[in-house]
């Protein structure tokens, strides 16, 4: 008897899910956010179809405000995987100059939520892989692996299909689409362990280094480029920081840390006492129902 470890079981499950989608969807796409979960998802896709390249493109719904290190890794990863890279930037948001400094929640809504809908409609994708995990947030715990969206990309928690065994129903009517979450059953620790075991390349920002920062509303922000608007008298300070999640750099809080190896990062994570999404502003709206509401509107 060979005893499979939890990582081997999770890997096999994710690969099975991806192959089902490749077989049953007409035009699948993998959404790629350049974060650590995306990196793991992309690695699993490479494994699932090896020696073929994954039979779908990689798509980044860009806000133009990601960290520079993220853009650099994006190009390299797509090339390494032998996949077509599609970058979508909401033209309307670009035209109106939507940015995180002036527009608050509208920034996320226009670039990400609207941008994603536009990109899926524009390319006619009927299935989109996303790297969300059920352990991230309360409403995610009930999300199916195959999550159905109406033609307007809405999510109705009451009309989701029951998912039995590992049988996924990918049938849908014209206009409807599916979001598929192959990492549903992974936890943050699983992700880190897998990154270490498989030596998956991730954005260096996850590891600690001296970086220019300012402190605002209790968040430690990194001044990643010249677009960052400093308040009067505000002076970037070099601090030893790293990031637990990556998003738009002016909206993503860093933590002060000396952890500059993966082991040290995991060590800090295990000893820490605050949950992962705390560094992001997105969950704080609408009381506890922030993410659920965003999903009903079509956010990933």
């Amino acid at each position: 008897m060979k005893r499979l470890t939890h990582l081997q079981r999770l890997e096999a499950e994710s690969i099975h899910i991806m192959r089902e989608v490749a077989s049953e969807a007409q035009k699948p796409v993998m959404l790629y956010s350049i974060g650590k979960d995306s990196a793991v998802m992309l690695h699993l896709a490479k494994k699932a179809f090896y020696p073929s390249p994954p039979p779908f493109p990689l798509m980044h719904v860009d806000t133009t405000w990601k960290f520079r290190d993220m853009y650099a890794l994006r190009e390299k990863s797509a090339q390494d995987a032998g996949m077509e890279l599609i970058v979508w930037q909401n033209p309307e948001a670009a035209e109106r100059g939507i940015n995180p400094f002036d527009h608050g929640p509208l920034h996320t809504d226009m670039w990400k939520t609207e941008g994603l809908k536009q990109a899926l409609n524009h390319h006619g994708f009927d299935a989109a892989f996303g790297g969300a995990r059920r352990d991230e947030e309360k409403s995610r715990a009930k999300e199916r692996i195959f999550s159905f969206r109406t033609a307007s990309h809405g999510w109705d928690p009451k009309s989701q299909r029951p998912e039995l065994w590992n049988l996924y129903n990918a049938r849908k009517n014209k206009g409807e689409s599916i979001r598929v979450f192959p990492l549903s059953n992974w936890t943050e620790l699983d992700i880190w362990q897998y990154i270490m075991a498989e030596r998956i390349e991730i954005v260096p920002l996850y590891l600690s280094a001296k970086r220019p920062t300012v402190e605002r509303d209790g968040l430690l922000l990194m001044v990643d480029d010249e677009r960052f608007r400093l308040a009067e008298g505000e002076e970037p300070v070099m601090r030893s920081i790293r990031f637990r999640t990556l998003g738009c750099y002016p909206l993503t809080g860093a933590v002060e840390s000396e952890a500059d190896t993966l082991e040290a990062v995991v060590q800090e994570m295990l000893l820490t006492t605050t949950s992962e999404r705390q560094g992001r502003a997105i969950d704080k709206d609408e009381g506890g129902a922030g993410m659920e509401k965003k999903k009903q509107e079509g956010y990933f």
């Binding site: 499979l4 699932a48 009930k142 506890g288």
Partner: protein
């Protein structure tokens, strides 16, 4: 105790995550956790049994709740909690806003925690009677079920229900968690009485074994082993394992499957270039080694495994990525020695012990849709990587999940469970569910809405497909048609009662006859005097009526005839079923479009009057729906066209197409 705040009390025992090791030697810790196993289990019970509290406790004890979540939880508990000033763990696990408002859990939620030995995935399923569907869903992937009982209440109808469902879905390991022991003063005889009660019920339904543990989710008794490895001080009379210890050691289903004959349903054919052809899939049972003889089912061809391919690790660049063996639970790609017929839906299996194929089964069916099962209607059936068209016969019986009695049933409604015959339109590769969840479990999908409407578990096949051979005949349908100098077709007239179907069909047949065409008219009323005299007008009978007419029409087209049928045939799904029976282009749907008020005004047979007065039930247009065709080949508007004009149009269309 009473004046202590709950968070202090709960925080007092940091349990099974070895903080010290993390801080001192993270590499050692990671090595240890790298090799954990994975166990999936479900918890069954209602909020009243303390289920959410137990799950909250497991998450809390394994530090899956962070400080900020705990702070939010304390605030929420005071605001909307049901535990007064104490922490209400139910809030932690009741995810969606709608649920929080209603105070119920409406779906399956998945939670994660881990100990040093295992990672756990918990399917948290609600205990309400109407949510059988959710429990079956959560249980379908579980190795173990924790059945929660409130020590003050003992074995309740819902306990039986949950145990029955867990057993039905094939869970081999049951834990009877007798909770809230703190509220019965940790009384041994209370516990033993409940266990004895449960044992007599369990053996009745065929549960051979279970593990009973006295616990308190709220106080933490016997959840984890105490520091000295002994049970809780409050239950000195109990010498079994704590809940966590039991979960850490119970055998895992995937490991058990390794001992069976090799099975791998093919998901995807991997063909990057002409030199490589691999078959990708998740191994469902057994193990495979390079050189093993395998049989491809259904083709029956044998070959040998040339290589087992995975992606080489980055650290091993240049390596082939080939591995020597693989076992149940692994996703791999197999390359075979020979060019064999193998594609998605095929099963690669042990050459000596392959699975069977059949097209008729007896199965347990769990119905999961608001719309009742319609016996005879064609649904998609997905089993492993095979998707076929299938119909379910009228159930042999339905199981009352409270009394476990077998009841007579004509259909199954939402959350209904019954036993029925399933017929597929072509043979599928299968095993009994008792032997294999992968090759014995299936889902049913509505062909119109694409919703998953049911799930099934195969008990056995009713006839081996290979026993019913299709007798090949020497004179082909083309030869039959050629002799008659015509192309066979079915002109399928559909419309309300009194719309003019029979009249127009008659006119068309007369016209064709004069043109020396060989035709036959199947009329609804006439067929019901003979072939279908045993059928009534319920939805199920109407479907069977149409199915038989479809089969007869198909035989007649094989004989080269042009068949005209005049049936109300109110449901789209059945008209589509007949369309799919015939070769492309031979089914011509003629929609005789007469508004209800016009048909009712004609009422030549006086049927509408009877239906209106309630003497006739299930009358189309009155108390049974008519689903008009969306894309009929021919539409006849009888308010603007006489029967003869319609006949000319139809004949022109038919022969113009020839």
């Amino acid at each position: 105790m009473a004046d202590q705040s709950p968070s202090q009390e709960l925080a007092s025992d940091p349990v099974y995550k070895t903080d010290a090791l993390i801080a001192e030697d993270i590499s050692a810790y990671l090595d240890q956790h790298q090799n954990k196993g994975l166990l999936r289990f479900i918890t069954c019970g209602s909020v009243d049994d303390g289920k959410s509290t137990l799950i909250g406790r497991l998450l809390y004890d394994s530090k899956m709740i962070f400080e900020d979540q705990l702070a939010a939880l304390e605030a929420d508990s005071k605001r909307v909690g049901t535990q007064g000033q104490e922490i209400d763990f139910a809030l932690l696990v009741d995810g969606l806003a709608a649920e929080r408002e209603q105070g119920i859990t409406i779906d399956v939620a998945y939670r994660f925690f881990s100990t040093e030995k295992r990672k756990f995935i918990v399917a948290d399923t609600p205990g309400h009677e109407q949510y059988t569907r959710n429990m079956v869903t959560g249980a379908s992937t579980a190795d173990l079920a924790v059945i929660l009982i409130d020590a003050r209440k003992g074995v309740l109808p819902q306990t039986r229900r949950h145990s029955f469902l867990a057993h039905l879905i094939g869970i081999r390991h049951l834990v009877l968690a007798v909770n809230k022991m703190d509220l019965v003063d940790y009384d041994q005889s209370t516990f033993e009485h409940i266990v004895a009660d449960y044992r007599s019920f369990a053996s009745e339904i065929g549960i051979e074994d279970f593990t009973a543990i006295p616990i308190s989710g709220f106080k933490g008794d016997n959840i984890t082993a105490g520091t000295d490895g002994a049970p809780s001080d409050n239950t000195p009379w109990y010498d079994g394992p704590s809940l966590i210890e039991h979960l850490e050691t119970v055998p895992i289903e995937a490991t058990r499957a390794q001992g069976q004959a090799f099975r791998m349903p093919v998901q995807w054919v991997n063909r990057p270039n002409l030199d490589f052809r691999g078959f990708s899939g998740l191994i469902a049972a057994g193990s495979v080694q390079q050189g093993d003889r395998v049989r491809i089912v259904p083709s029956g061809k044998t070959s040998a495994v040339k290589s087992i391919v995975t992606m080489p690790k980055l650290s091993e660049r240049g390596a082939s990525g080939e591995i020597e063996d693989a076992v149940a639970g692994e996703s791999v790609t197999l390359v075979l020695e020979d060019e064999v017929d193998c594609s998605r839906g095929s099963v690669i299996a042990s050459a000596e012990d392959p699975p069977e194929t059949a097209d008729q089964f007896e199965a347990n069916i769990v119905w999961m849709s608001d719309e009742d099962l319609i016996p005879g209607r064609a649904y998609w059936l997905k089993l492993a990587t095979q998707t076929v068209s299938a119909s379910i016969a009228q159930p042999k019986y339905e199981i009352d999940i409270n009394s476990l009695e077998h009841l007579a049933a004509k259909t199954l409604s939402l959350n209904g469970i019954g036993v029925a015959e399933v017929t597929t339109d072509r043979p599928i590769t299968f095993e009994s569910y008792a032997k294999s969840r992968t090759l014995g479990g299936f889902i049913l999908i509505d062909k119109m809405t694409n919703a998953t409407v049911g799930a099934g578990m195969i008990n056995f096949s009713l006839r081996r497909a290979q026993n019913v051979h299709w007798q090949s005949v020497d004179i082909s349908r083309e030869q039959h048609a050629g002799l008659k100098n015509q192309k066979p077709a079915v002109l399928w007239f559909t419309g309300l009662s009194g719309s003019g179907k029979s009249t127009i069909a008659n006119a068309v047949e007369k016209r064709l006859n004069r043109m020396n065409r060989h035709t036959f008219l199947l009329d609804g009323d006439n067929v019901r005097h003979g072939l279908n005299k045993d059928l009534g007008f319920t939805e199920a009978d109407r479907i069977e009526n149409i199915r038989r007419v479809g089969e007869v029409a198909k035989l007649m087209t094989n004989a080269g005839l042009i068949v005209l049928t005049a049936f109300i045939s109110p449901f789209r799904a059945e008209r589509r079923m007949v369309r799919e029976m015939l070769p492309e282009g031979e089914f011509i749907e003629v929609f005789v479009d007469t508004p209800l008020q016009v048909a009712e005004a004609r009422d030549e047979k006086g049927l509408y009057a009877k239906a209106r007065s309630g003497q006739l039930k299930n009358f189309t247009g009155i108390d049974s729906p008519y689903e008009a065709p969306e894309n009929a080949e021919i539409r006849i508007d009888t308010t603007r066209m006489s029967p003869d004009e319609a006949a000319v149009l139809i004949v022109d269309k038919l022969l113009g197409d020839v």
